[in-house]
Amino acid sequence: MARAVSPRRYWITTLAAWGVSLLIFFPVLWMILTSFKTEASAVASPPQLFTAEWTTQNYADVWARSDYPRFFWNSVVISVGSTLLGLAVAIPAAWSMAFVPGKKTKDLLMWMLSTKMMPGVAVLIPLYLLFQRTGLFDTKIGLVLALMLMNLPIIVWMLYTYFKEIPSEILEAARMDGASLWKEVVYVLTPMAVPGIASTLLLNVILAWNEAFWTITLTTTKAAPLSAFIASFSAPQGLFYAKLSAASTMAIAPILILGWFSQKQLVRGLTFGAVK
């Protein structure tokens, strides 16, 4: 909606938009600034937006105190693994829902979403016991499976909304040319759906990375990702604001950077078919 407006109005709206956006961003900015302060200046009163003595000591301390690379690697494996596995299961499902819809397709989709409405806490004990007995507890495989199933409804829905926008005439043409169902999916549909699949992948990696209930309750040490790393820092051990901020920044930095760089794809993917 690029419309011509008067210069005065342009600058007023610019000012207002920047003010609001900075306000929303401020907690993240404040956390990052605090992570580079000394503990004393982090709690100084009145608060210092900038400090005279910037330091990276907090990061060195956090790094020395805990095995960050292991937590980081677990986060990567769990979030990427669960998303890829989820895509492998969801792509065929979304394909058939979009192109061979039945009477019950919409109900099926809503049922899938409704499985996500079950509060995690409600089924914590059964899942905990199941994971213990099957040897999945505190393993990366276990968390990959759990998060895959948790995000599967979202993945199916997102892909479904993308696939529906692909004109079915193209598929019919492929079929006329004698393409098998499998070839149709691999050579015709998938290339056209790559942008949609990329957005789905991004959003679900972020959701899995930020998941902090199952990743904390179903792990102890071996498979614990960054959500557990940060939980160990907020445990009562005296308040060290600068170190807490450094650990927090380390936990969110990878996904923040990924998200910022892929922002365009992500935003396009976030619509869930809300935009026609």
Partner: protein, 290 residues
């Protein structure tokens, strides 16, 4: 176009998703249902047996129960209202021709990338802490006593934190929807003398219906199970002032180690989720020709 074999193949392709989700749903649910009728306390494992509806009656008669239901609904409703209203306003603002729109989007989306334990501990310590928090400093600068956010207004504080986490999601979906609105329609309305409010009410808002539906649906799914933010900030207190249904179940399972009662609470939570789902589908489902 779809032949018989095609249909069969299509069903086969949906099957893995449906079967996996069904198992994922039904096994824990069946176990929870079983436990909910059993005496099952980790502190006295030798006493077992069927107890009928005793776990359920204990849960429902517990003094915290209705407060927990109220808090759960207040959290879902409060966050929905705040994120949809503020999200719409912010999207309207950013959608105007402004300088640096790209950077603005990067700033606004940031909270979405912050994992809940980090968000909760940042707000709790760096902002709401009564001595060292930034809010306390601001209060002191104005000569006022620091507000004890988490102690005196625990539910409002939690709603505020969760709203901050979900605001980017609502804003971005609404912004994308607004940008798909053709500007000719708005310009025509403007030339016909429609006020800005009338343009919003009769052109923009109807265009946003579908986007708002999606925001409400997705957020409700995630908000019904909110747990980590309360665990990190208030621990359900003070007393049980900020105890929600998920938190009440957690207290039974982990603190009281009474699996039977926790399971009964779990089934009640599932029923509540289903009631909310039915209302959602009735109310807004028709906006979504999925």
């Amino acid at each position: 176009m779809s032949t018989q074999s095609n249909r069969a193949a299509a069903r086969l392709m949906v099957a893995p998703s449906v079967i996996l989700l069904f198992i994922w749903m039904i096994v824990p649910l069946a176990m929870t249902l079983y436990f909910s009728f059993r005496l099952y306390r980790l502190l006295s494992p030798e006493r077992t047996g069927w107890v009928g509806f005793a776990n359920y009656t204990w849960f429902i008669k517990s003094p915290d129960f209705w407060l927990a239901i109220f808090n759960t609904l207040a959290l879902v409703g409060g966050v929905l209202i705040i994120t949809v209203v503020l999200g719409t306003l912010i999207a309207l603002l950013i959608d105007q021709p402004v300088k640096g729109q790209g950077i603005l989007r990067i700033l606004v989306i940031a909270p979405f990338f912050v994992m809940p334990p980090v968000a909760a501990s940042i707000w709790k310590n760096l902002f709401m802490h009564p001595q060292n928090g930034l809010f306390a400093s601001v209060s002191r600068a104005f000569g006022a006593d620091p507000i004890l956010y988490l102690e005196n207004h625990p539910m409002l504080s939690v709603i505020g934190i969760v709203s901050w986490e979900w605001l980017p999601f609502a804003t971005l979906i609404l912004l994308t929807a607004m940008q798909s609105l053709s500007s000719e329609q708005l310009e025509a309305a403007e030339m016909d003398g429609a006020t800005p409010f009338a343009r919003f009410r009769y052109i923009i808002l109807p265009h946003l219906t579908r986007a708002i539906t999606v925001v409400v649906l997705i957020e409700t799914i995630f908000l019904l199970g909110i747990f980590g933010e309360i665990f990190t900030t208030t621990q359900g207190g003070p007393g049980s002032a900020s105890t929600t249904l998920p938190y009440m179940i957690f207290k039974q399972a982990i603190a009281a180690k009474d699996i039977g009662r926790a399971a009964a609470g779990g089934i009640i939570a599932v029923i509540l989720a289903n009631i909310v789902a039915v209302f959602l589908m009735r109310g807004i489902g028709r906006n979504l020709d999925a």
